[in-house]
Symmetry: C2
DNA sequence: GAATCACATAAGTCCATGCTTATTTGTTTC
DNA sequence: GAAACAAATAAGCATGGACTTATGTGATTC
C-alpha cells in the first residue's frame, strides 16, 4: 500500500523540508543539503524514502543525481483527501477560487 | 506545528482505518473497536493522537464518548496540498469534476 | 453507595526509524 | 588508470512509538 508509504514519508519534518525545497525547483542531493543541517548519508536515506513513496523522482546527470517533485505522490494524497470531501462543504468556495487560479 | 502532528497521526494504518470509519459516521470508542482487532487502551491512545492532531473531535455523552471527524484537520491537509498545486496541472479536469459533484 | 460499565492513564516492552561513521559504487578528470 | 568527487549502502546505536497489562476516573444503575 503506497498510501502508507506516503504518509510515513511526510510524517518526518526533515523530509517535508526537503520536499518543500524540491517543490521550489529540482536540484541534486548536494544542493539540497545547503541550509539543512544534515549529513550526506542522512539526505540520501531521506531521498530514498521520498522516492519510494512516489513523492520525488530522480534522474542521473553525470555524477550528480537530480531530484524533483513527482506529481504522482501528490495526486494520491489529493485522491485520499477527496474521499472526505463531505466534511468540508464550507470550503467549496475556496476550492472554486483555487480552480479559477489554476486556469489563470 | 500541528501540521507535523497530522502527518504523524495519519502515518499509522490503524489510525487511518479508525479515521475512515469515523468518516462514515460518528460513533463512540466501543463501537469503533468492532471489526478492528485492537485492545481498548490502544483504541483510546489512537483516538487521543487523532484528536490532538485536529483530525477528530469528541463529545461526552453520558458514560460514552462520541467521536467524529473534525473538518479542521482535513482543511489543514488541503491547505498543505494546495501549496503544491503547480505540480498537478493534468489533474485540473479531475478537480472540476469533483467540484461539480460537490455541488450535486 | 456498591457494582458495573465506558474510557483514560500509567508503566513497561519491543520493534521501527532516523541518525552516525565507514565503506562502496558510479562518474568525471587528469 | 589513479585521484577526486557525488551519491548510495552497510552496520551499529539511540530514540520514538505502538502495543501490552494493570489501574484510575467518571458516569449510570440497582
Amino acid at each position: 500500500m503506497i498510501e502508507n508509504e506516503i504518509f510515513k514519508a511526510l510524517a518526518d519534518p526533515t523530509r517535508r523540508t526537503i520536499f518543500e525545497k524540491l517543490a521550489a525547483g529540482g536540484m541534486n542531493a548536494s544542493a539540497l543539503r545547503e541550509g539543512i543541517d544534515i549529513s550526506q548519508p542522512a539526505m540520501s536515506q531521506h531521498l530514498a524514502v521520498l522516492r519510494s513513496a512516489g513523492l520525488v523522482r530522480e534522474e542521473r546527470q553525470g555524477r550528480f543525481v537530480n531530484y524533483e517533485v513527482d506529481p504522482e505522490g501528490l495526486a494520491l494524497i489529493a485522491r485520499w483527501l477527496a474521499k472526505y470531501r463531505a466534511y468540508w462543504p464550507a470550503r467549496i468556495e475556496a476550492l472554486k477560487v483555487l480552480l479559477k487560479d489554476m486556469d489563470q
